[in-house]
Symmetry: C2
Subunit: 326 residues, 2 copies
């Protein structure tokens, strides 16, 4: 106990005794209290776990995830907490969640059927979900995906568009919006689809006239393939909305390959406002990535509110990839 005090609470013993303890510690090669033992004894680790849907290597490639982490980091730094990134490894990740030395989790954009969810619940630690269906967790941070998507579609409707195409991630075989909504594993994707539908049906255009296309993956190549499918249709859409900026950039590429002029013959809109979107002049929906991370951590640390749902605003950013319907 005296040793513990010597290292952790200098005010609890006289300077002489303290120095004697520390000297002996040096002599014996004792490097201070063991963090593992302290964690066991105190029941606190001093670190927050971050769980991301994608593998870590992908997370560091994705600017949105990096910005989210930035937000988490900013609060962690204030609170003197470490950040523990829990890796994603096929079939082993539940185990990694179970053994993570953390006081709580921030969970980013998790699929509905992710096996790690059970592990998180069993840990009985507080956790905050980002981009996950609110209501399915006590602490939830979301952006207003639906409103953002609705505004995008409305913007296109206001420009006179009536023939729409939708580009979705992952290979899918659904034909109708309802099938798609039922099959989608990510809350965010469903909300965006709902948002587009809100506006399009609101304008009196039946949603079953909207062409849905998807392709494997979730990146530019995905958008290129899926966008190509839409552009090769007999009744080509005049406007294409995409689940992400990366996919929208792929659609632009597909259009260029086919000699379809954007925005004269085709309008394209993305989602996220990634840095590349600004450079490409892509119309998109801006969302506060960093604030998502910060808000989640704040919810987690505020033990006074056991249940809370934060909805952060989105903003339509019109750029040069959208224009009046030809």
């Amino acid at each position: 106990m005296t040793v513990s005090n010597a290292f952790n609470r200098p005010d609890q013993l006289s300077p002489e005794l303290r120095e004697r303890v520390l000297a002996k510690a040096r002599e014996l090669g004792y490097g201070g209290p063991d963090p593992g033992a302290r964690a066991l004894s105190k029941g606190k680790t001093g670190s927050i776990g971050v769980i991301i849907d994608a593998p870590l290597t992908l997370a560091f490639t994705d600017p949105a995830a990096v910005q989210m982490l930035h937000g988490v980091a900013s609060v962690c730094e204030q609170e003197e907490l470490g950040i523990t990134l829990v890796p994603r490894i096929k079939d082993r990740d539940a185990h990694l969640v179970r053994t993570a030395l953390v006081d709580g989790f921030v969970v980013y954009c998790m699929a509905d059927d992710d096996a790690r969810m059970d592990a998180i619940l069993e840990r009985r630690l507080p956790f905050a979900m980002i981009d996950y269906e609110p209501g399915r967790a006590d602490l939830a941070v979301n952006i207003d995906d639906r409103v953002g998507a609705r505004r995008t579609a409305q913007h296109l409707i206001d420009l006179g568009h009536r023939r729409f195409g939708v580009v979705l991630g992952w290979e899918n075989t659904f034909n109708t919006a309802d099938e798609a909504l039922a099959a989608m594993q990510y809350h965010v994707d469903r909300e965006r689809l709902r948002g587009w539908r809100d506006a399009i049906e609101g304008a009196g255009v039946p949603f079953d006239t909207v062409a849905l296309a998807s392709a494997p993956g979730f990146d530019q190549a995905t958008g290129r393939v899926a966008g190509g499918k839409l552009l090769d249709r007999a009744n080509r859409p005049t406007a294409i909305v995409c689940e992400s900026d990366q996919m929208a950039l792929g659609v632009l590429q597909a259009a260029q390959e086919r000699g379809v002029a954007v925005p004269q013959q085709l309008s394209v809109a993305g989602f996220d406002d990634a840095p590349e979107a600004a450079r490409a002049g892509l119309t998109t929906v801006r969302q506060p990535h960093q604030e998502k991370g910060a808000a989640a951590l704040r919810l987690l640390l505020d033990t006074a509110t056991p249940r809370a749902s934060v909805l952060l605003p989105t903003e339509l950013v019109p750029r040069s990839s959208t224009a009046p319907s030809p």
Copy 2:
């Protein structure tokens, strides 16, 4: 013990007993072995600590640091290890190092006089230093800063330049290269300065004719101010080399503000090959950021080699910001 086995080693007990244990666990609300206790007992935490010179918020803004983390993450993922980012907090960071629940540290670009170094040593955990003077640590990963800088200066010499300016970070009051080398806190900075000197003196140009300029900070604003000082001198340099791309971009800005044409009247070179460098057409030195992180972690995990120093190559990337001397 039987409970421990039920959760961790199903093959050590009969399915019936195991099910009985798990059922009782559910009934009692026991969520599986406590990671803290396991860490204490096993003496392993399953996580690697990453210590960065800058605050975490800055680390996530800096593409080089993010790529380094990416490299660390790629190896962690293979090895099923977590990554714990240790925040940087003035006067408190040694404590955070002492309490971090990790099996080892990767230390990125630490200043010579950083107080956390003592804490790291006292932990008696393995650690690998990136961008730190090799020889001062058992495990070191560096890039060939000196050779990279030398090639940059040589490239300018080959283009006919003889009047050089150097832009350094942080406000400094040194006049000679030796003073600068003694005052600099970062190994990387010293090596780059040495590299430039190697080439310039090698061409028969005395290094005391080279104008040194610095300004507070380490970013674009720093380069703009320091670059401005150089450009406002009576005997303006025809070539300016910078410690980083960010600062080089600031120099470009300063040149533009003064109507100095790059590269016709002034050549500018950076270091790092940040994404912005390519867009700005900046001549720079490419370095394998990601591989630095991965190599450090591999050294750390390979307990067979208690001492090892890795030197990764750099590559000169000539672009349009350098041209023959006017």
